[in-house]
Subunit: 709 residues, 2 copies
């Protein structure tokens, strides 16, 4: 009965809306979208279960099957037009691997099995052999032998510490632990330090499990001792053989770099590497003598004492990759906008997984399908989006953001002038606690959305209230890192973007234990977090798609720039570097942000009948274009020095940590270089990079203002 | 009486138009615009007279006065909002010059006066000392001495001819004649051939005057023997000290390259040069012995026999430049669009002149003011443009397109998303005969305009009919050259553009004889050509500003690309290079052009009441954006290899001839290089450049189609 009443009310509301074009109609639908009546935890759980039945690495038949599932689910929703966007890209798989540790006598050498163990009663035991042997995608093939040295997290500063201790890892194989930086940077930093091979293990200090009386999966959420975090060690974005252009499938193919040219490009490693388990890592650690590593480098209380070596343990490492040009499949679903079909709000999540991918990424895929299905229900009740909504289910993200990057590269010119925002969810749920990163003009919108959605872990308050409870000032992160599919949108073409999730890291990341069992026991037993993720994600999309004036606020951007510039000023206070141009440009941005905010306010006051009938819709469009295009203006066509694919001068990965996310990456690179060289030229480059940022901030302020100089 | 009747009719028409929003209203105004009743030859003549009273080189007080005149004229027109856009840029002026020719005995040495003669009765005799001594802007300062060699037009192929004759000009000062390529390239080619200095003279074979019984200015239109073509030898665009960014005026200035860095940039000459008169050139020619130059290299029938030398004549050349950071002033006038204020149709012409500038550029300035004044009259009669019309009167074009380039660089991001088209007129009139160059989607529009305007030199037919009479197929040129202010619009940001003129070259170009006397005696005695230029220019602007659907036709672009690709195929037929990707991309463009043409047709059929009331105006806007942005997609963010400012991969200057205007400049450069090196790598680069062009043509076709892949 209640259901029928709602339908009737909706029918009336819809008819009224057609008469009055009342803005309240949209908010009615938005409230309905997040109401319990529309959400469906069971369906989310079913989607996740189905998507994760088999390991579905990019390029495999299983992943193609998963694409078919996503495509057909989207196709079954009213008014969603679907298609596949396919590309032929270079992927790598392990062909052969071997790892032997020679220890000082009397200990015999160990040849590691390099296998993750199937536990008793594992419902996936039957398909476990479809999990690829543990490896690093794009690792260099080769056989190396040398003493092993311990390098902590393998950061630049860890090598500085070693240098201060008088330790040289040149000619060695280094043992690094996962956790602080991107694994591709661990390998690159090792190469730059002269190492000839790299092993990266999962230390239980960081990922739990093993040691003392702790438990691990399936008994607890922690990583089992045999668990291995696999992953890519590619440092670029997109197919390595087609840097900056799409790997389109055509008769005769597309232009493609040779293996040699790819290596010269500098984004693939030049020394072999392997990921290994916590147990194997500890075994190797015991073979390392020499100086005791400092406290921060040690393991948990039950771990042996960590020493830096190198040696006496000797490692024989052999790795051979299969390189394959594979067809990957992005699934695209489009709900055409009723009034502004040529303005796109894009929701994206990837589908390919290292193993089963219940957390990474299919919690996000399940949420994506939930968003689409709820919008389908809204459409049945009369709602239509003002702007076009695009669902993208990416492939080959795990290898290097490949599906999203190739698609952005192919559609670059169109996207650059039409995309309002890109909303990414990679992992929707790995645990409790809402996390968001965004380009700053979206901060307020995201906060507003969290104020409307109930916390799945505390039904008495909103997500926002829980965030405030944890930290006084709910902090939204930034998108400088290369961690997921927002990279091409933000860093290559300058689209306002966000990346959202419940939970912040999880122990079985990228291992074969990331499966539906883990999710339904530890990640999200009731699938309420998934539902909440779909609520926030969809609500943000609805506001962007429906609000007449785009809900962007550049005040937050100005604040962010100001704080970062002040940090930089402190960092460079003893150098002969002027930050005046940067502060001046931020001042222009501040004025422009205030001006457009004032204009938006005035327009909202003047709205109504008169406004509609005077054909002032052009004014709204013009204002929205200013709001939308200001972010584009923060990209520079030449891109970062030495890394031309990265066009955004405010947000991009830092050179030695792809996950890093500082402001002003170009200035940062130049400062790092100048600090190391300390030449007049190198400091001159710092000043040049400050000028460059000042100029793009000025460009953005001109676009926001919308007046010719 | 007639006048009053017209006003009444207009009043009625205007009222009706407000009721019916009838498209015929716009065409009524467009017809009115080109009717004799609105044009005013006397006013044009007066503007030209006033603008050219004194020499007004960029950076001088006289040019600032001229700016004030343009500003106040525009300001006096109803609804034109004006402002100055000023920049601080590097300009150069001659500080000292000397040129001595040492001849074999018994001839005594000659020290040239390097002065253009004032003729008897010259009304400008009083202000002639305000003409700067003859020089090359941005010429290298220095003193050089060496034997003189003759190099014809100083093209790459001329040096090849010399090489075949066994002549080496290394260590020599070369004597080149003006006429075939840009003078900056003459100096660069000389430098690359090892010359240490360059003299460029005006041969009467090319510019008339002197020799036999011919007459010259003021008795005829020809260049007097003492006349000198001055000009810039800078090979870039915009202020050399701010490549790619605007030379904005702010406290603390903007980033600026040092003299050293500018020289390393490769766009300023590294050896001194001077322009000299026909008389001085002939004198020097007589001192050159050695082999007789071939027929094509000889002068007119009265000239001495030209030999190539080098020597025995010896040249002492000394030149010192004053380098000054000067403030330049662009005058901007804006008529805001009534319906789409954020879409711009820009009309541009420069104001700065080497001397009086009656032809170059102020015939264009006078026409610009005439267009603005006629639009003012239209506005009084009720017309309003749908889109915004912007008048730009540029400064420092002669030095290197500086005013327009700095402005485009400053407003880059805004212009890239808002400019519909840029319509340049540099020289409006140098004689009879209409000439146009354009990006090809404007071809049809220009042809249509010439069909509506009467030929000023034959009142019985239209400009179009005269064009057909001269050549069967009226040919529209292209904008690959760097010859005028369209360069930044087309080649840097990809805006559909045109450049138009009556007349095709004139003998007193860039000399002190380019004055109002020359114009009113030889260039355009009745100022009818000026009026016709204003008619065509303004009509094209009106159609672009008013037509609901932008009058762009990409069929012409497709044809142009196809023909150029076929030429390339012929040129590379014996090489192992595939043009398939290029032809495929052109095929996509052909389909996309057909598709949008069909859509436009259908939309025009469906137009009317229903169309208006269904709020389908969004559809029009979306379609126009596709038409407008397709040109942008032909730019590549990295730009041409080694010349990153040039982003357009279809139209840009050729490397060794800035005036050159072939399709596919990047492929061209690579082919030239590969032909000279003939290595595998160099041919590989040709293939790479072909891929790059194919990709941007594909991008453009996707933008035209407007659908995501």
């Amino acid at each position: 009965m209640v259901g029928k009443m709602i339908t009737t009310i909706i029918a009336i509301a819809t008819s009224l809306s057609l008469l009055f074009i009342s803005p309240s109609t949209k908010s009615y639908y938005h409230s309905l979208y997040i109401s319990p009546s529309l959400s469906d935890n069971e369906s989310i759980s079913h989607h996740l279960y189905t998507l994760t039945r088999r390991p579905h690495l990019a390029g495999t038949e299983a992943n193609s099957e998963a694409a078919t599932y996503v495509l057909s689910t989207l196709s079954n929703i009213n008014h969603v037009k679907t298609h596949l966007a396919e590309y032929d890209v270079l992927l790598t798989y392990p062909d052969s691997r071997s790892l032997t540790l020679t220890r000082p006598s009397p200990h015999p050498p160990i040849t590691f099995t390099l296998r993750q163990e199937v536990y008793e009663g594992d419902p996936y035991a039957d398909v476990a052999d479809q999990v690829e042997p543990t490896f690093h995608a794009y690792a260099k093939s080769g056989t190396v032998k040398g003493p092993v040295g311990y390098v902590n997290y393998g950061r630049v500063e860890d090598y500085t510490t070693l240098k201060e201790m008088g330790i040289n890892v040149s000619g060695c194989i280094v043992l690094a632990r996962y956790g602080e930086i991107y694994r591709g940077d661990i390998v690159e930093n090792a190469y730059e330090a002269g190492a000839i091979g790299v092993l990266i293990y999962t230390d239980r200090k960081d990922y739990g499990g093993g040691g003392g009386d702790t438990k691990w999966f399936p008994d607890d959420k922690w990583m089992p001792p045999s668990g291995v975090q696999v992953g890519s060690v590619f440092n670029g974005a997109g197919d390595p053989t087609t840097p900056g252009w799409p790997s389109t499938i055509e008769e005769g193919g597309c232009e493609r770099l040779s293996e040699d040219e790819v290596e010269k490009g500098g984004d693939v490693p030049l020394i072999p590497s392997l990921p290994i388990s916590g147990a194997d890592g500890e075994e190797i650690m015991r073979s390392i003598g020499g100086l005791v590593a400092n406290d921060a480098w040690q393991g948990d209380k039950d771990a042996p004492v960590y020493r830096v070596g190198p040696g006496p343990g000797i490692i024989d490492l052999s790795y051979k990759a299969k390189q394959v040009i594979s067809t990957i499949q992005n699934v695209i679903g489009i709900i055409e906008g009723a009034e502004e079909p040529d303005r796109f709000v894009i929701l994206g999540n990837h589908r390919d997984a290292w193993t089963y991918g219940a957390v990474d990424p299919n919690s996000g895929t399940a949420a994506l399908l939930e968003v689409a299905e709820r919008l389908g229900k809204l459409q049945k009740q009369g709602w239509k989006p003002r702007r076009t909504i695009v669902f993208c289910n990416w492939d080959a993200e795990e290898y290097g953001l490949i599906g999203s990057t190739e698609w952005v590269e192919e559609n670059r010119e169109m996207l650059a002038s039409k995309v309002v925002a890109y909303l990414n969810v990679d992992i929707a749920v790995s645990g409790p606690g809402f996390q968001a990163s965004a380009t700053p003009q979206l901060d307020q919108l995201i906060i507003e959305a969290t104020k409307q959605v109930q916390d799945p872990d505390n039904s008495s308050q909103t997500v926002y209230e829980s965030m405030v409870q944890t930290t006084n000032n709910p902090k939204i992160g930034r998108l400088g890192g290369g961690g997921s599919d927002y990279a091409a949108f933000v860093q290559h073409i300058g689209v306002p973007s966000t990346d959202m999730s419940f939970g912040n890291g999880y122990p079985v990341y990228h291992s074969m234990y990331d499966d539906f069992v883990w999710m339904s026991n530890f990640g999200d037993p009731m699938f309420c977090r998934h539902a909440a993720a779909a609520s926030i994600w969809g609500l943000v999309a609805l506001k962007l798609a429906d609000e007449e004036i785009l809900p962007f606020n550049y005040d937050s951007y100005v604040h962010e720039l100001q704080v970062s510039a002040e940090d930089l000023e402190t960092e460079l206070s003893d150098k002969n570097i002027s930050l005046i141009p940067l502060f001046k440009s931020i001042e222009k941005m501040r004025k422009a942000a205030k001006q457009i905010n004032d204009e938006v306010k005035e327009m909202k006051i003047n709205k109504g009948w008169a406004f509609k009938w005077k054909n002032q819709s052009w004014k709204v469009r013009a204002m929205n274009d200013r709001l939308m295009m200001a972010e584009r203006a923060l990209t520079d066509r030449e891109g970062l020095s030495g890394r031309p694919w990265y066009k955004h001068l405010i947000y991009a990965p830092s050179k030695h940590n792809d996950y890093g996310s500082k402001c002003f990456p170009g200035i940062d690179d130049a400062v790092e270089n100048a600090k190391s060289l300390n030449t007049e030229d190198s400091w001159h480059s710092v000043q040049h990079e400050i000028w460059r940022v000042s100029r793009i901030v000025t460009q953005a302020s001109l676009v926001l203002r919308g007046e010719l100089t």
